[in-house]
């Protein structure tokens, strides 16, 4: 199967068409909207697989198809499609996971009144996401990126009648847009320097050697290279979308959306877009590496942010009680891993983890969705429990996902991809701190996932909802099973023994064993995973929770730490107190300025005019008018008399005229002196 770059646009166009159909379908047309969406995703998947075939045939090439969008001054804004293994692998992943989530949604959203709208938004989202993947222009990426943000806004706020959902949607949109601001500026700068935003354009693209040489030579203030500055601005966009510290706050709140949305947005696609973007512009990020005397390299920042995020997310996840929030922070943490991998120089490892993570995190979210659906929207894991016996398929698949996430050795995909990252971190010459952060996060990950599984599936039901839960219909469980299979098998294409993915992704054959530096690190990480699992089991699995109100064992052991973690380390409050307050203050000040100062100046001028008028009036009334009134009074008397003379009789007037004439004439004649 083959698909040329020029027909690549079909991949996002199909879901877009489905979205249009969904938008035009009335509420009743549930099967039309969902059918269109699913068929479109199947089509997109087929095309993606075809594209993958093409890409694998030329793994080192960047197949492009560029065109002009509009002219801007003397030059033109050009967009294009790009087909390389990165695009193709991502497209296959997104359309495949997306398809499964769509199918799952058929069951999950069955009772929702706005079923057609949901599928419309889902399709729009998928279209935008696929658009990001196939774009060969930073501008086109940005366009689709914004549409991804929009679709996520619509989906997170899907149940907007819940105030928390509406607030979360807005928060997600605004927070990611803060990051996008950086991306926009980076884009503007890049365009200013290079006059194009195409990634690959037969030697003129921004990611091609001539451009990179130019960018890494120019230095700006602060001793950093131009490419560093632009790269970091672009990275801001990735921070926003991928929920990296310090803009990670939107991601957990976004769990207010329906669970399939969480699976789609916060596992497989949207959050992956940031990682994908950095992988896409990797040559640019890498361009400053050869410079010795710069104050900072772009990738160092990426690695730092990634390490902090990985550690932070994992730590906060430990303190959460909402099943989806645990998963959300786990996503934050895993995205931190990917950024870390990008930062330490191995984008291939990052993408590998991205792909495996997409499968097992989608699996976990859908599993959680399955639990929530069965337990009548009970999400607090203290009130669940004992579901393992009632929901066997869900439990089994969830356990697979949990082990993949925790990195249980050898069988599960998460292990291999995480190992790749840890090895890359180990090999990073700059610092070993990311490695240490990653290793601590390994322990924490295993711990909180054990806690999650033990609380939800083991023990006895602790609420009515949990005790009446039962397994869901196949439309929901079959996707779980498929994802579980993927979560296991996908790891096998990137093991040190057979680095097929790594070889094909980068277009450079990676020799077997080359991503394996000896057993030391792997053994260490296996030990750490076991440590995390063991402690988790000791605290939660061995002595099972009796009722929903029993304190958390960890809270008993370390109350201060647990409370801080449960409060998400206070980021939200901190932002609300600083940026939120500041913004509100500025807005109020500006509003006040407008109302009182600018408006006040006008009113002041008006008031001064009025005051002058009042003063004049006083002057007139008391001073001038005194005499004037008297004179007027007389005049009025004269006027009255005169008015009486106006009899209205024409004869009288005529007579007066005659008399007056005679008098005048006599005066003239007799006087002769006048």
């Amino acid at each position: 199967m083959n698909l040329s770059a020029s027909s690549l646009w079909l991949i996002p166009a199909l879901p877009l068409l489905a979205a249009a159909i969904g938008a035009l379908t009335p509420r009743g047309g549930r099967s039309l909207a969902s059918g269109a969406a699913i068929i479109a995703m199947v089509g997109a998947l087929g095309l993606s697989v075809a594209a993958l075939g093409t890409a694998l045939a030329h793994p080192a090439a960047h197949l492009t198809d560029n065109f002009t969008w509009f002219s801007i001054g003397t030059d033109a804004v050009r967009l294009g499609w790009l087909l390389d293994p990165l695009t193709a692998f991502m497209a296959v992943m997104v359309s495949f996971v997306g398809l499964l989530i769509f199918i799952f949604s058929l069951g999950y959203m069955k009772e929702d009144a706005n079923f057609t709208r949901f599928f419309c938004f889902l399709s729009l989202f998928a279209a935008a996401m696929l658009g990001v993947l196939v774009a060969n222009s930073l501008l086109l990426v940005f366009v689709c990126w914004e549409l991804v943000g929009l679709a996520s806004y619509l989906l997170i706020g899907f149940w907007f009648h819940k105030p928390s959902a509406a607030a979360a949607a807005k928060k997600a949109f605004i927070t990611t847009r803060i990051g996008d601001l950086g991306l926009l500026l980076g884009m503007l700068w890049l365009y200013h320097v290079r006059g194009t935003l195409l990634f690959y354009d037969g030697g003129n693209g921004v990611l091609e050697p001539s451009s990179l040489a130019l960018l890494s030579h120019g230095k700006i203030a602060g001793g950093i290279a131009l490419s560093t500055a632009i790269g970091l601005l672009i990275f801001c966009g990735a921070i926003g979308k991928s929920g990296q510290f310090p803009l990670h706050v939107w991601l957990p709140d976004a769990m207010e959306g329906p669970t399939p949305v969480s699976a789609l947005i916060h596992a497989a696609t949207m959050v992956a877009a940031g990682v994908f973007l950095i992988a896409r512009v990797y040559p640019l990020m890498l361009a400053d590496q050869h410079l010795a005397n710069v104050s900072v390299h772009a990738l160092t920042v990426v690695a730092g942010i990634g390490a902090i995020t990985a550690l932070l997310g994992a730590a906060i996840a430990v303190g959460q009680n909402d099943i989806k929030r645990v998963l959300a922070f786990s996503t934050v943490s895993q995205l931190g891993y990917m950024m870390l991998a990008l930062g330490v120089g191995s984008w291939v490892a990052a993408i590998f983890h991205l792909l495996t993570h997409a499968f097992f995190k989608a699996l976990l979210f859908l599993g959680a969705g399955s639990v929530i659906h069965a337990a009548h929207h009970e999400q607090d894991m203290r009130r669940l429990g004992g579901l393992g016996r009632r929901m066997k398929i869900t439990f089994a698949t969830f356990a697979v996902g949990m082990m993949a996430l925790a990195g249980v050795p050898f069988l599960f995909s998460g292990f291999w991809s995480k190992e790749g990252i840890l090895h890359a971190a180990h090999a990073w010459p700059v610092s070993q701190l990311p490695l240490i952060a990653g290793l601590i996060a390994v322990v924490l990950t295993a711990f909180y996932m054990t806690r999650l599984v033990a609380e939800v599936f083991l023990g006895s039901p602790r609420s009515d909802a949990a005790s009446h839960a039962h397994e869901n219909s196949p439309v929901m469980t079959v996707p779980l099973v498929i994802l579980a299979i993927g979560a296991v098998l996908l790891g096998l294409i990137g093991t040190p023994a057979w680095p097929w993915l790594q070889s094909n992704l980068g277009g450079v054959v990676v020799p077997a064993e080359s991503i394996f530096e000896g057993p030391g690190l792997m053994v260490l990480s296996i030990v750490l995973v076991c440590l995390g699992l063991g402690v988790g089991w000791a605290l939660y699995g061995w002595r099972k929770r009796r009722d929903a109100f029993a304190p958390d064992p960890l809270a008993v052991a370390m109350p201060g730490v647990f409370a801080a973690l449960a409060a998400k380390l206070g980021f939200d409050e901190f932002y609300a107190l600083t940026f939120g307050r500041l913004n509100q203050l500025l807005a109020v000040v500006a509003d006040g300025l407008d109302r009182w100062v600018w408006g006040g100046i006008i009113s002041g001028v008006a008031w001064m005019g009025e005051a002058l008028g009042t003063f004049d009036r006083e002057m007139d009334e008391s001073g001038l008018n005194g005499g004037f009134d008297a004179a007027s009074e007389k005049l009025r008397g004269v006027g009255n008399a005169y008015s009486r003379a106006q009899t209205g009789e024409a004869h009288g007037y005529l007579r007066t005229l005659a008399v007056a004439f005679v008098v005048l004439a006599l005066l003239l004649l007799l006087g002769g002196v006048l």
Binding site: R655, A658, V659, F661, V662, A665, L666, L669
Partner: protein
């Protein structure tokens, strides 16, 4: 004194006095026609033939018709009401006023040394020169008079018809 002039003057004054004193409006109007004819004769006598004809056409031909129209359209008032005391007073005062004005004017005319040019041949102005005057230096005045005529006619129409309309569709 020129006999012709005397005759003309007599015609003018007599018809005017009669017209002013008749009680029947129709009579007054007809006598006035005589008066206007007399004026036309005066113009002829003075050598202004064109003006004379204009006078005859406009006054004798047109305005007299207007007067008759007015009289006929307001039939109920064809005859003057009987003289009332107030009316008599008015008549007396009017005659007194008129006499005063005439006295003043006459004195003024007679006392003013007006030099004349009897040597001037019996004045006559040719139609050609009159036309050239009117179309040349006086063209603007001619135009303005034309506009005035139009406007006054329009105004007359509006005046005469406004009440009838007003009753139907009051604003």
């Amino acid at each position: 004194m020129n006999l012709t002039f005397a005759l003309i003057a007599f015609l003018i004054l007599a018809s005017a006095v009669l017209a002013a004193t008749r009680r029947d409006l129709i009579h007054s109007a007809l006598l006035l026609v005589g008066n206007w004819l007399g004026v036309a004769f005066f113009y002829l006598w003075a050598g202004a033939e064109f003006v004379a004809f204009a006078q005859a056409l406009v006054y004798v031909g047109a305005i007299s018709m207007v007067v008759l129209f007015a009289v006929l359209l307001t039939r109920r008032m064809r005859t003057e009401l009987p003289l009332l005391v107030a009316t008599r007073d008015r008549v007396v005062s009017a005659v007194l006023g008129g006499a005063a004005v005439f006295g003043v004017l006459a004195v003024a005319v007679l006392r003013t040394p007006l030099d004349t040019n009897p040597a001037k041949p019996a004045g006559s102005v040719s139609m050609l020169s009159l036309g050239q005057q009117l179309m040349g230096p006086q063209a603007a005045a001619v135009l303005i008079v034309g506009v005035l005529l139009t406007v006054s006619l329009l105004g007359a129409v509006v005046l005469a018809s406004s009440d009838a309309d007003g009753k139907e569709g009051a604003p």
